[in-house]
Symmetry: C2
Subunit: 214 residues, 2 copies
């Protein structure tokens, strides 16, 4: 079996992980595992506690690496972390290296995105450039074997793009129909370009209060 490893860490955003999990965990011929610094329970800091099947020390090669986002992805990317070193170690031999949301900053800190068109959560686009990436305003950005998805829910779109690349369009369509991904957002506020200015300003201020560098 080929191996899919999705990296978890305390404070990860559950929807970044579970959005793509739905399709990826059904990929024929692939075994899906959650991987973390240490195997065992990993909390998002709220009510979600998931189990990592494997420690990074037990995993030296993977076929598909997926790095979901979360606030700590930004700070780990800034300050360095054993997970960043692990990404740098396994990336050269992956078939696909993938991020969702601010997971892209961890790929960046691992040196994976130098000169590579990539995306991340809308709030972190400018920071992505600090790692040599070329911030690209698309929901899913493909660049060779590297695929980056925009914020949180974009991991679902990414999973269908990846499903098509590996198994063809009919398989990807089957995954989309299985999860009834026929989105009808009740508001038009999913991106700063469409959200009301005051909603955007309020959320940006909240993120600034937590994340802005001195």
């Amino acid at each position: 079996m080929k191996q899919i490893a999705m990296l978890l860490y305390p404070g990860f955003t559950p929807l970044d992980a579970i959005g793509p999990y739905h399709a990826l965990s059904q990929f024929p011929g692939y075994e899906f595992s959650f991987v973390a610094l240490n195997a065992g329970p990993i909390s998002d800091g709220s009510a979600t506690i998931m189990q990592a099947q494997k420690s990074i020390s037990d995993v030296s090669a993977v076929d598909i690496l997926v790095v979901p986002g979360g606030l700590p992805a930004i700070t780990m990317a800034r300050s360095g972390d054993p997970l960043i070193d692990w990404i740098a170690k396994v990336h050269p031999t992956t078939e696909w290296t993938i991020s969702v949301c601010t997971g892209a900053l961890m790929l960046g800190a691992a040196g994976v995105l130098k000169g590579v068109p990539a995306t991340t959560h809308w709030y972190s686009h400018s920071e992505l450039a600090n790692y040599g990436a070329i911030p690209t305003d698309k929901r899913v950005v493909e660049s060779g074997k590297i695929i980056t998805a925009a914020g949180v829910s974009a991991g679902i779109d990414m999973s269908l793009v990846l499903a098509e690349r590996i198994f063809g369009q009919a398989f990807a369509e089957k995954m989309q129909l299985d999860m009834e991904y026929d989105p009808k957002p009740p508001f038009n506020a999913g991106h700063p370009r469409s959200a009301p200015a005051e909603v955007h300003a309020e959320l940006r201020e909240l993120f600034d209060s937590v994340l802005k560098k001195d």
Copy 2:
């Protein structure tokens, strides 16, 4: 604090739960818990193992009840289960009773949907009528305090509808922008009305092989 309880059971579909979790776990003034027959680890049958904070025997009243779907939701609804009895017990005093995907069949079996317009995963619409519900072809169906969402990913849309009902449109828009829910499915296959006929037929046959009653 008001209480949100999301019901988990072995074989639940993680995206049914974690799609709405993203917004619901940020509702101000509400405490979010995962609830199961017994507190502790609950597996989806694949790589996801989540922790339930509470046993149903410890929870006699909740403000928001959310029942995600999964294949076992269909069979538990057919055969009866202590979880169904618990839903019937707590529903009368909820502020909101909510399902995602085939979780609607569990609400139905608990007697909650008699004469109520409701939706579920596209595969299970006809079965929903067996419980007295009025199957309704919309992504999110509101009927008083009962909200039902269509298959799997529709829980995300539902969470924004609920956020608007409780906290108003600006809050719901902030949640949508936070999760960058600006969907761009790469294919037009999220519902039987749009999916290629052969993709629909193949998936229906797969579900039939697992679920069709004698």
